[in-house]
């Protein structure tokens, strides 16, 4: 199932384009689509209803994202009215980030979440600058809820990584 199942081809292309322009306010290289936050879009009689999955529930960026979306769609003539809902079922998991999204994160200096994390909670992240796996976790909690702070022992740079979030937790 993909977010645009309820749309026809033209609607999908148009809405995709707009959603692609809405970036994460805290990581402005990645769009909410690439982050996998868009769960469903419904368009009926000019009313577009979007269902989004928050990455973390207490994330203060959610309101900003909502405002950016509403603003971005004012330019779309097919959309006369709009509703944005944050839902948590299904839960957002880090494997929803697209391959493109992972590259965008890396460009921003943020290591994408690793696929595998042991049940002990230890996880490895490759340095976004030199790709070395010789890294250590400095602080599980970074500047935003979804990021941790790590240190690369190869190139001696501190960097951030997206926390893995998955169903086994």
């Amino acid at each position: 199932m993909t977010w645009h199942d309820g749309l026809n081809v033209e609607e999908k292309i148009r809405i995709n384009q707009v959603l692609q322009s809405v970036k994460d306010p805290e990581i402005d290289s990645i769009s909410i689509l690439e982050l996998g936050m868009v769960e469903r879009a419904e368009l009926q009689d000019g009313t577009l209803t979007l269902f989004l999955l928050p990455t973390f529930m207490g994330c203060p960026a959610l309101d900003i994202i909502k405002t950016s979306i509403l603003k971005a769609f004012t330019k779309v003539k097919e959309v006369k009215q709009m509703d944005v809902h944050f839902i948590y079922h299904p839960p957002w998991t880090s494997d929803r980030i697209s391959e493109e999204g992972k590259l965008r994160l890396k460009e921003f200096g943020i290591a994408p979440p690793m696929k595998e994390a042991g049940t002990t909670g230890e996880w490895q992240a490759a340095c976004p600058y030199c790709d070395s796996l010789y890294t250590t976790l400095d602080n599980l909690f970074g500047p935003t809820a979804c990021r941790s702070i790590l240190y690369c022992k190869s190139c001696k740079n501190p960097f951030e990584a997206m926390k893995p979030v998955s169903n086994w937790m």
């Binding site: 207490g58 948590y88 957002w92 599980l140 909690f141 809820a145």
Partner: protein, 267 residues
Amino acid sequence: MTELGTPSFKKTVVELLYQLADDDFILACRGSEWLGLAPHIEEDVAFSSISQDTMGHAAMFYGLLEQLGEGNMDELSHAREGSQRKNAVLCEIPNGTGHYLKEPRYDWAFTVVRQFYYSIAKKIKLESLKQSAYEPLAHAAVKINMELHYHILHWTVWFKQLILSGGEAKQRMLEAIIRVEQEFGDVCSLGPLSAEMANLKLIDKEDVLLERFHNSVKPVFHTLSIPYKGSFGYRSGRGRFGEHTQELQHALTTLTEVYRTDPAAAW
């Protein structure tokens, strides 16, 4: 979805949601009072992030109450009096003596033990709630559990390190454990409707949850070579039954000052 039509089902769900929401709300407030006062800058970042998550969880539970017609979620979180709250008393106890604006003498050992015990108890409840007969609550539990995972990792590290460092740190931790356990019966309590909660399959029975708690914590104590007593009391009251300390009302008054100036403001 299970028939919400029966008034007793709804009443029981509401009771459980208030406990979950009020626990997270007041503990997140206590946590955020540490901002700028935590042992080091990294901890400031981590603890405020944890408190922000926890406030997010409270908002989810208040949101579920709003859907059940209990009222607006901002009002539910900010405008209810202390006597109406269902949180465990342990969550409302101040971080220490003094005030966070003037001469805070906060107790880090107490905070670490409270957070560690609370996070484990919350995890045990969430695992049970994932199978709750009230589906919206089951869905919320799945989401919250993913975030809680990191809180547990964090507090486990602190808990172990302070005890392993020996000396005064260990001594203060052992005292804090006694203090937290004296209140912890309240955290493990599901209040006056606990039997109904289990009968309606909203959550497992209290004694089942308690057993799981012991099984999670005992091995940690074992690796630290300290004795685990695991006998919990209600020293300062039974919050699930509406008994609270003066401190709760003080905290709420401060917290809601801003809210009351403009109840219509967006948060």
